[in-house]
Subunit: 291 residues, 2 copies
């Protein structure tokens, strides 16, 4: 996906945000923002790749801050809130017929996709997450290809590219549904810490690695999936699997225009740039299959 004029202030705000998470030192915060400006001044131009810019600016900011994981506390918070909600979602799912049950699992993973801190114009609901969850269930899916996605999942190889912590607990519910449909699930996590994204240690800690058939990593701390940095198995799966579930905006930004087939993009459209690219509006809950 190409960058838009909105991306520059949003990314600069996010650099400030992670600087504030990482350090109380005002000089270091200033340096991080200056580093972001320098990076954008060099790399932000019409037609530039959105994900290369976001990967580059965060790497530079982490480097200036001397911090490998500024979001560590927020990841713990997200996990806590999601874990509290999961039993309730399970209860809701238990009363439903198979297709509806699958749809609710998909929707829950998209509600989980709101655990994305620092996106300009998007506030994470940490106060009363359950009330927020209910409002989102009421909103439902604004683009809903769940029936087709479910069909493709039956007895298939499914590549499941995860996004944020917190969200991952809802992903677990959907993965259980996929497994119940006979799917072989290959999970893809980030290779290193980036933003609030799931890494291998998160899935090992929660035992999700035992529930899936294989876990791959993206091979790096790129935002989304960098095809240049991804291991060969991941590229092969992207090119051959009959169903690829891609969670969240960054995975869409990095994979959406690469010509891969059988892509199911599950995301909350948290900014206008991504919303416009995927054919949605800001605030939409999107389950879009691209064959």
């Amino acid at each position: 996906m190409k960058t838009s004029p909105q991306c520059a202030p949003c990314l600069l705000n996010r650099v400030l945000y992670e600087a504030e998470l990482s350090t109380k030192d005002p000089e270091l915060r200033f340096k991080a923002v200056q580093g972001g400006l320098e990076f954008l001044n060099e790399n932000f131009y019409p037609g530039a790749d959105a994900i290369k810019i976001s990967t580059g600016i965060h790497r530079k900011a982490y480097n200036i801050l001397g911090d490998k994981d500024p979001y560590r506390e927020l990841k713990i918070l997200s996990n806590k809130l999601a874990m509290e909600a999961v039993p309730y979602v399970r209860q809701q799912m238990d009363g439903l017929m198979p297709e509806e049950r699958f749809r609710l699992a998909v929707l829950a993973t998209i509600i989980g996709n709101t655990f994305d801190f620092g996106v300009q114009g998007h506030d994470v609901e940490t106060g009363d997450f359950m009330a927020f969850y209910e409002r989102m269930v009421e909103q439902g899916l604004d683009i809903d290809h769940t029936a087709e996605i479910r069909k493709l999942a039956m007895n298939s190889d499914v590549l499941y590219i995860v996004d944020n912590c917190g969200e991952i607990y809802f992903d677990e519910l959907l993965i259980e549904e996929l497994k119940a449909l006979g799917a072989k699930v290959t999970l893809v996590v980030r290779g290193e810490y980036i933003l609030t994204d799931v890494t291998m240690e998160d899935v090992v800690r929660m035992g999700l690695d035992k529930k899936v058939d294989r876990v791959l990593t993206t091979g790096s701390n790129a935002v989304g999936v960098s095809l240049e940095e991804a291991p060969a198995e991941l590229i092969e799966a992207l090119e051959t699997y009959p169903l690829i579930i891609s969670k969240g905006m960054a995975n869409y930004e990095s994979l959406g225009e690469r010509g891969f087939k059988n892509m199911a993009y599950l995301l909350r459209a948290k900014c206008e740039t991504v919303a416009a690219a995927i054919g949605a509006r800001k605030g939409y809950n999107v389950a879009k299959l691209v064959l």
Copy 2:
């Protein structure tokens, strides 16, 4: 006032905001943001003067956009909303004793100071301004030196440096109170269009020039008051007047650390950087006298 790490993304957002107000051309919007990045990359460093940066970046953006007044529609909207509210404020004032009446006039001008579009983290209430007005009256003044300000105004020369359109209609009420106290009022407006700020044509259109004793301009389209660009009469008044009323954040940013005396800063603290500098918190209604 010195710039802070928060200022860079806020200003870049504001450049984007005025680009979106000014043009539908995505390329031109992109160019404006790139211009902002280039400017900040050169001029944003610890200790840099906040107002020089904001003046410089807006001048550059206006220049790129080829637009002398991107905020023209918003100024009209602000004026409309304020004009609708003024009769109600007058009614409220009419029932009050002199000191309370003066305090309400001051508070109304600070409520008017919320007509400031494009400040990050600050939303202008355009939907139901009257309900917002009532909430603000209930909040009252969080820093309240109105009694001392009123005393200084009696039979004095008062320099009144205005800020935004819309707000100016509430300023008119306070100016009437000042005149009733025997003050001679010199109004100061911007020399040219900048943001939603009041210029000579605004006060002439509303006839406010007839109600005051003199109108000066800041001599330029600087954000706030640039002492380098201000006419000699304005500098003289700043140095000698027994009461200077300075409305809004930008006037404070430009004058607050210049050693002037008898300054009454009336503003809504719409960002943490200004709030911290003036000894308030974000969201405070401030009427602070610095002798």
